[in-house]
Symmetry: C2
Subunit: 280 residues, 2 copies
C-alpha cells in the first residue's frame, strides 16, 4: 500500500491512499496527522478511503511533504560499508546518531533554498527513511520490526562546511527545508530493505551514488530498537538510515552543488525525489 | 518577573506568575502553552494573573517541568573557557551544537531515572538555559537579545559511555527524562548573564562545578543569533549554553553518579534544581 500527503488546489493538503491509478482522500490533513491518531490502523485507512472513481488521478496529483510534523527525526551516519570506507573510517560497533527538526524536512519536488552563508559546500546524501507506526520503548529487534509503518526516500542534503566547523555535525544537517523526504510512504508489507533496495542519487543526470540497503551495517529494525533504548519512538517519527558511497565531499577533488542543480534520489518501489538547489 | 508551571492537587498543571509570596494562576496549562500563544506578551501575562490573595503560597507550590513541549531544544557544548581546557580542547571559533528532544527534559525536583544499560558513566553538567520569547530567523545579535524571554537552570545529565560510543554526542545526551530544567523562568528584564551569573553544581553536598556566565565564549544572544542562521527559533524554544569546568569525566580518576545521589544546580536569582538519580 502507498500513502501520501497530497497538495490540493485550494492550497491545503490531504492524506491519501493509492488505489490503482488514483489517490483516494483520507480524513486527515497529512500523514503526520493520520499516524498520530490513537485509533489508526491500515484496516481503518482502507475503510476511510473515498470510493474508487472519486479520487485524483496519480499523474495529476502534486505530492507534498508527507510527514510535516514528526515528533522526532533521528539520523544515522556511517551505515553503508562503502561510504564508511570512503570517509576513511572503520566499520562501527554502534550507530552514529544525530537529530534533525521537523523544520529541516521538505517535500519530494520542492526547491531546496540555501542561504548565502551556506552555499560553499552543499552535498547530496540519498537515504532510506523508516517511518515508525507504533510506540517503541526499549524494544528488541523483533518488536521494532513489527512497529515499522513503512519506508520512503530522503536526501540528507548537508552543508559540509558548517558540518565540519565543530565536532558535532548537527549544524550542517539542520538548515530549515533542506532534507526532502517522500514521495510516498510504502507500507512495510510491500517492501523489505533486508532483501536489498537499490538506492541511487543523480546530480544533473549523472549518477553519483548507488547502494543496496542489503549492505546496511545497522538494519532499520536494529536502528529503531537501538534508538528506543534511550528515547521513545512514536507513530509518525522518522529515522534516516544513512547514505551509501559517492557523496561530493568524498570525491577527488570534492564536488558540491550549485544554484540550479537538479538532484534526483530514486529507488525501485519507492519512487523518486526530484529537487532543485536554489541559492538565495 | 518569575513564571512557572505549577503542579496542581488534581494532577494537572497551570502556568503561574509570581506576585510577592504567591503564585498567581494564568489561563494556560504550562509555560509552553503560554509562550505558544500568538498574542502573548508580558503585559498580557500580568493582566491575566488571578487577583492577589487568591494564589498559592510560594512555599506550598510544587513546581513542574516549566516547558514540557518546546519545539526545539538546542544545546551548546564547550562554551566555558575552563571546561574547554579541562576537556583538552582549544577555544572554539564556532559554537559546538547538538539537539535534544522535548522528551529529554524533566522537572526541577523530579527523580532522574537511568535504565540499566546506561548506569556506568552518568555525569552532571550545570548550565544556564535561555528561553526564546519571539521568532528569530537569520537574526543579528541585537535582534536575538531582544527576543530572549528569560533564563532558567538546566542539568545536562550525560551518559558519557553512550556519548563516546561514536563521534556524535547525541545518544548520550538524549535519554528520556534526564535533563532537569527550571525551576522558574526569570524574565530577561530581571537578570543579565552578560553581567555574570554564578552557576554551581553540588553532588551529595560537595561542590563540583562553579562558573560565571561572564566567561561564556558565546553569549546567549550570540548563540541564538548563530542558531537562527540555519533554523527558525520560536517562542518557547530552549537553548542550553554549555557547562563550566568540574564535570565527573574530567576528574582524575573520572567520577560518576550512583543510585540515590542528589545533584543540586544553583544560581543566585534563578533558584535551584534538586534531582535524585534513580537506577532502575
Amino acid at each position: 500500500m502507498e500513502l501520501a500527503t497530497i497538495r490540493t488546489p485550494n492550497g491545503s493538503t490531504a492524506a491519501a491512499v493509492r488505489r490503482g491509478d488514483e489517490w483516494m482522500g483520507l480524513a486527515a490533513a497529512d500523514l503526520s496527522e493520520l499516524l498520530a491518531r490513537p485509533d489508526w490502523s491500515w484496516e481503518a485507512v482502507t475503510a476511510l478511503a473515498a470510493p474508487v472513481g472519486s479520487g485524483i488521478p496519480v499523474d495529476e496529483a502534486e505530492l507534498g511533504l508527507p510527514l510535516p510534523t514528526p515528533g522526532k527525526v533521528v539520523c544515522c551516519g556511517l551505515n553503508y560499508a562503502d561510504h564508511i570506507l570512503e570517509m576513511g573510517r572503520d566499520l562501527p560497533e554502534y550507530p552514529t546518531l544525530f537529530a534533525k527538526f521537523a523544520d529541516t524536512l521538505t517535500g519530494p519536488t520542492d526547491d531546496v533554498a540555501v542561504p548565502t552563508q551556506a552555499q560553499a559546500a552543499v552535498d547530496w546524501e540519498a537515504e532510506l527513511a523508516v517511518v515508525v507506526g507504533s510506540e517503541l520503548r526499549r524494544a528488541d529487534e523483533e518488536e521494532a520490526r513489527a512497529a515499522i509503518a513503512g519506508y520512503m526516500l530522503a536526501n540528507d542534503i548537508s552543508m559540509r562546511d558548517w558540518q565540519k566547523r565543530t565536532l558535532q555535525w548537527f549544524q550542517g544537517k539542520a538548515f530549515d527545508g533542506t532534507t526532502p523526504i517522500g514521495p510516498v510512504l510504502v507500507t512495510a508489507d510491500s517492501i523489505d530493505p533486508d532483501d536489498g533496495i537499490e538506492i541511487t542519487c543523480e546530480v544533473n543526470g549523472v549518477r553519483r551514488q548507488h547502494g543496496s540497503t542489503k549492505t546496511l551495517v545497522f538494519s532499520p529494525a536494529r536502528l529503531l530498537a537501538y534508538i528506543s533504548q534511550f528515547t521513545a519512538l512514536r507513530a509518525g517519527d522518522v529515522v534516516l538510515t544513512g547514505t551509501p558511497g559517492g557523496v561530493g565531499t568524498g570525491m577527488q577533488p570534492p564536488q558540491y552543488l550549485s544554484d540550479g542543480d537538479a538532484v534526483v534520489v530514486r529507488a525501485e518501489g519507492l519512487g523518486q525525489l526530484v529537487n532543485t538547489i536554489r541559492f538565495n
